[in-house]
């Protein structure tokens, strides 16, 4: 009985945080649940960290990443975030992948008054309806990515549209935004069929069949990962794409595109990341460094992880402090360079203006790639400031 408290005290002493040495970034993510995206993400983070620390760190101190797996559920993620805040005493929280996990951590960040840089979750709500003072988001949101595709969609003047989306918030809000924006750009567009298979469980044959029955001119899809692959293969076999144009969010990201290989459907309009073709100086520098460090090519996740660490570092530099309130003020309106070019962290809704690439899919040598692409700047795909203020209830 005496041993136990002794053991406990030793344990506390051993795990007591070392003070003052480094600036800590508490990064939590669903590394095992969304491993395909998050392994490259982690490599991107590590690269950025090494670059920053070789260059002398920030504020004369080294940056340190404290990385945790959040188990992919909001409940566990909140506990892990509490651990990062209370035990590790991190200066800033970063990460999360799924929207509901991101929202839960954002909610905790507001309660505990800690800065949270949500790197990956796409939900519009994290900066709009549920936005709060302490939460910032890096990636272009569902709304932004949808808005990027609308100009090309409207240009085609296709009348009959069918929609397919994974049945959860991301797919639902992509669909809602697309319908709204396309109707604005092309009032005579009709929506003739809608399919909402459960995430990860699409019954692709039946879905493709049902879409074909509606005889659409064009399809808007927000499927990804395994659902996308099943949809593409069934659609190819059943000839669904022969006379229909398809617009698919995210399908140009290497994480999803590379798995399609010789099934890659030609001519689809997608958002994504044509990593091998972007030759701006900032992207070349990033790509070379990444390939040198990891002997592998960068994915979308790599860019997100890399940029997120730099964003936090820039915030520390601009704030000249590690205090949360000063960091929040510093991030508002912060301008910085990224592999995709310069971005700004909007003071209005804490959304970064990082964009994405819009282009068409093509097959080359049994592999998929993006052609005819352009960079869609995140500043240009936003609703009006008034709408956002109304959503943020400010």
């Amino acid at each position: 009985m005496i041993l136990k408290p002794l053991f406990f005290i030793t344990f506390i002493l051993l795990t007591a945080p070392a003070f003052g040495q480094t600036i800590k970034i508490g990064e939590l993510n669903s590394y095992k649940v969304f491993a395909a995206f998050l392994e490259p993400y982690k490599k991107g983070m590590d690269l950025a960290l090494e670059e920053i620390n070789t260059g002398g760190g920030v504020l004369g101190r080294k940056l340190e990443l404290v990385v945790r797996d959040d188990g992919g559920t909001p409940g566990d993620a909140v506990r892990v975030a509490e651990e990062l805040i209370a035990r590790e005493r991190v200066n800033v929280l970063m990460g999360t992948f799924a929207s509901h996990v991101g929202l839960a951590v954002a909610n905790l960040a507001a309660q505990r008054k800690v800065l949270f840089v949500a790197s990956e979750p796409l939900t519009d709500k994290i900066v709009w309806e549920n936005g709060n003072r302490y939460t910032f988001r890096l990636r272009p949101s569902t709304y932004m990515q949808t808005a990027m595709l609308v100009p090309e969609a409207a240009k085609l003047k296709k009348k009959r549209w069918a929609i397919v989306y994974p049945n959860y918030e991301y797919g639902q809000s992509a669909t809602a935004s697309f319908k709204k924006l396309l109707k604005q750009a092309q009032p005579d567009a009709e929506f003739v069929a809608e399919q909402a298979p459960a995430l990860g469980k699409i019954d692709a044959g039946a879905v493709v069949q049902a879409l074909a029955e509606a005889k659409p001119d064009a399809i808007f899809s927000s499927l990804f990962a395994a659902d996308l692959q099943k949809f593409v293969r069934e659609g190819n076999t059943r000839g669904l794409f022969r006379n229909t144009v398809v617009f698919n969010l995210l399908a140009g990201e290497p994480e999803y595109l590379d798995t399609l290989k010789d099934e890659t459907p030609e001519g689809w309009w997608v958002t994504g990341y044509p990593w091998s073709e972007i030759n701006t100086p900032e992207h070349k520098a990033f790509r070379d460094a990444y390939q040198k460090r990891w002997k592998d090519y960068p994915r979308q996740g790599s860019v997100v992880g890399y940029t997120a660490v730099y964003a936090v570092a820039e915030a520390f530099k601009k704030a000249k402090s590690v205090e949360t309130e000063k960091l929040v003020e510093a991030l508002k309106g912060l301008k910085m360079q990224t592999p995709f070019g310069p971005i700004e962290w909007r003071a209005l809704d804490h959304q970064s203006t990082m964009g994405a690439y819009v282009g068409q899919l093509a097959r080359k040598g049994g592999k998929g790639e993006m052609v005819n692409w352009r960079y869609a700047d995140g500043t240009k795909v936003q609703p009006s400031d008034g709408e956002i203020r109304a959503l943020r209830k400010e």
Binding site: D69, A86, H100, G205, A206, E213, E234, E255
Partner: protein, 606 residues
């Protein structure tokens, strides 16, 4: 829908049904003979997929199919001989815990061996394109599946009806003690049936690769589908499984064809609920033979009071030592301990397995959140009123569930939980849909970690004591009597169903309290609080701690929560690590940790 569209969707349904049947058949065989609820069946299927993709790059698709099935059969053999065989004598359900651990280990193995990215297999050579049916393109491979399903069915039928091996399997399915008494080598039979079932799972996985990519999420998605098919058909009945697969395959295809694709989220669970309410043994199942010689679970000796009091005092002084993470973690432990103890009332004294206990946890959490956010009730009131919602849910579902028994009861609880889950998932306006609800924080005076910890401690300790007291009350004894011998209990005037129904309501209310405490400790909730993994976690906690002790579930909850926290921080492959720890514990302490301690204590006190 035009008539040709109907025809095509019918064919789609048939193709889906065939693949469902392949997996379900193996699961049904295994359960029929060994009564093992094999959670790892989906993992074996996943293994079949990955193996087939990997092999088909080397030996071609058609050769890879039997090879993959063979390798998975060997894996099944190894699992049976080295793991399951050692624990057949242990309390029932321990095998379930072991197969759950296998799920974790196999998932991380696949991640390690084949990487995180989904891998799309090749198309089947010779059947790569489509044929024109009624003016529409239909994949040749799907036609092949439509033929293959019935072919496998016939082959299994012949095997079961007309071979000696088949006769033994049927005998063991009907009455395994009697088969054993007549000199059937049970060890060999169990091993062979498990390997056969695994081979079918592997075959199903291998045959799926032309239609879907091998991915790490398929295991749990698949095993729940397979269970539904098996239960709807009647456990152990191969024709039943075939019929159920057809029914579910067609219903899903026509939901999509008619434009109600959202329903596919729960279609199979709605079917299962309806079938089980109308036919308590599934479509073609028969009442399970009473397993004889099951040792009565014994009475739950109240754990000696002193250690418990010491533990309580220790928990009360923790805030003096730390105001940080220790409190957060302990709050989780307390909440889950209450959740596990509430499940234990059903599982232990009640003898009713619930696969859907998260329904009440989630109902409590959502009720608390909605009362607080939408109806603006003070947080304290919302917290205390939430269990009523869970009780109402438990009263409704329990009323149907207590009319069934064994695995059917368990699956009906799962069906109800999934239906509640899908409502929370889909009803955006009220529940916030898949994102859930945020901003559910305690009142300012309870908002600090320390204050909330004391709230959780007081409520959880009080509620757990209350549940223990209930187990030892006359009601608890009546419940145990109903479990051990429903006939005799009925004869002495105990209304068995009323006892069981009451147990559901009591357990549900306390789970609801745990859920409400959970909601306010996290500040947000999502449909995950109602999900299958949440139910499974509770089961794992109870089984890990030991069904036969009262304190077991508390120990199990503490150990499992602590493990998840500590291991996921230190080890990259933390799922496999947790799985391995559970396997070790299962083999070392088949009575659960609580049971182990009790044995030690009794021996020591003698």
């Amino acid at each position: 829908m035009s008539s040709s569209a109907v025809l095509l969707q019918f064919l789609n349904g048939l193709a889906g049904a065939s693949s469902l049947f392949l997996v379900a058949a193996g699961l049904s065989l295994i359960f029929g003979v060994s009564r093992i609820v094999n959670f790892a069946h989906g993992s074996l299927y996943m293994l079949g997929m990955y193996l087939a993709v990997w092999l088909s790059a080397r030996v071609g698709f058609w050769a890879s199919v039997p090879l993959a099935a063979g390798v998975v059969a060997v894996a099944g053999l190894v699992i049976e001989v080295f793991l399951l065989r050692r624990i057949y004598r242990a309390p029932e359900l321990l095998q379930l815990l072991a197969t759950f651990a296998l799920v974790l280990v196999i998932k991380d193995f696949a991640l390690w061996a084949w990487g995180p990215e989904d891998v799309l297999g090749p198309r089947a050579p010779g059947l790569a394109s489509a044929v024109t049916i009624a003016g529409r393109q239909f994949p040749q491979y799907d036609l092949f599946l439509i033929v293959l399903g019935p072919a496998v069915f016939v082959a299994l039928h012949v095997l079961l009806r007309h071979t000696r091996f088949g006769i033994l399997i049927r005998a063991a399915t009907e009455d395994r003690e009697m088969a054993g008494a007549l000199g059937v080598n049970q060890r060999l039979l169990f091993t062979m049936v498990f390997a056969l079932g695994a081979a079918l799972a592997g075959l199903g996985g291998a045959l799926a690769i032309p239609r879907e990519p091998a991915n790490l999420e398929i295991d749990l998605a698949l095993v729940s589908d397979a269970f539904v098919v098996v239960v709807v058909g009647g456990m152990g009945s191969i024709p039943g499984a075939f019929l159920a697969a057809l029914l579910i395959g067609e219903i899903k295809a026509f939901c999509i064809g008619l434009g109600y694709s959202e329903v596919t989220l729960v279609a199979e669970f709605i079917v299962m609920a309806v079938v089980l309410v109308l036919r308590p043994w599934g479509l073609l199942g028969r009442p399970l033979a009473e397993a004889r010689g099951v040792t009565p679970t014994g009475d739950f000796q109240a754990a000696s009071r002193n250690p418990l009091l010491i533990a309580l005092v220790a928990l009360t002084i923790v805030p003096l030592l730390s105001d940080g993470y220790a409190l957060v973690l302990l709050t989780d432990v307390l909440v889950f301990a209450l959740f596990a103890v509430s499940l234990h009332l059903l599982l232990g004294p009640g003898g009713m397995v619930s696969f859907g206990h998260a329904a009440y946890f989630g109902l409590g959490a959502y009720a608390a959140a909605l009362l607080f956010l939408r109806w603006q009730l003070p947080m304290e009131l919302a917290l205390l009123a939430a269990p009523l919602a869970a009780a109402a849910g438990a009263a409704l579902f329990g009323w149907f569930c207590v009319r069934l028994s064994g695995i059917y009861l368990a699956m009906l609880t799962l069906a109800f939980a999934q239906i509640v889950w899908s409502i929370a998932f889909q009803w955006d306006a009220l529940t916030g849909g898949s994102n859930g609800l945020v901003g559910i924080w305690p009142a300012p005076w309870l908002a600090s970690r320390t204050a909330y910890y004391f709230v959780a401690l007081a409520l959880c300790a009080g509620a757990i004591a209350c549940l223990w007291r209930i187990s030892a009350s006359p009601f608890g004894y009546a419940l145990r009597g109903s479990r051990d011998s429903p006939l005799r209990a009925g004869a002495i005037g105990i209304d068995v169903r009323a006892q069981q129904w009451t147990a559901f309501i009591v357990a549900g209310s306390f789970a609801g309290l745990a859920g409400a405490l959970f909601a306010f400790s996290k500040g947000s909730i999502s449909p995950e609080t109602l999900s299958v993994p949440r139910s499974v976690d509770a089961l794992v906690m109870v089984l890990l701690g030991g069904v036969q002790t009262l304190t077991g579930p508390v120990l199990g909850a503490a150990l499992f929560t602590w493990l998840e926290d500590a291991v996921s921080r230190e080890i990259a492959y933390w799922r496999a690590a947790i799985g391995a720890v559970i396997l070790l514990l299962v083999l070392a302490f088949p009575q659960g940790i609580g049971g182990f301690f009790r044995q030690k204590l009794t021996r020591w006190s003698r």
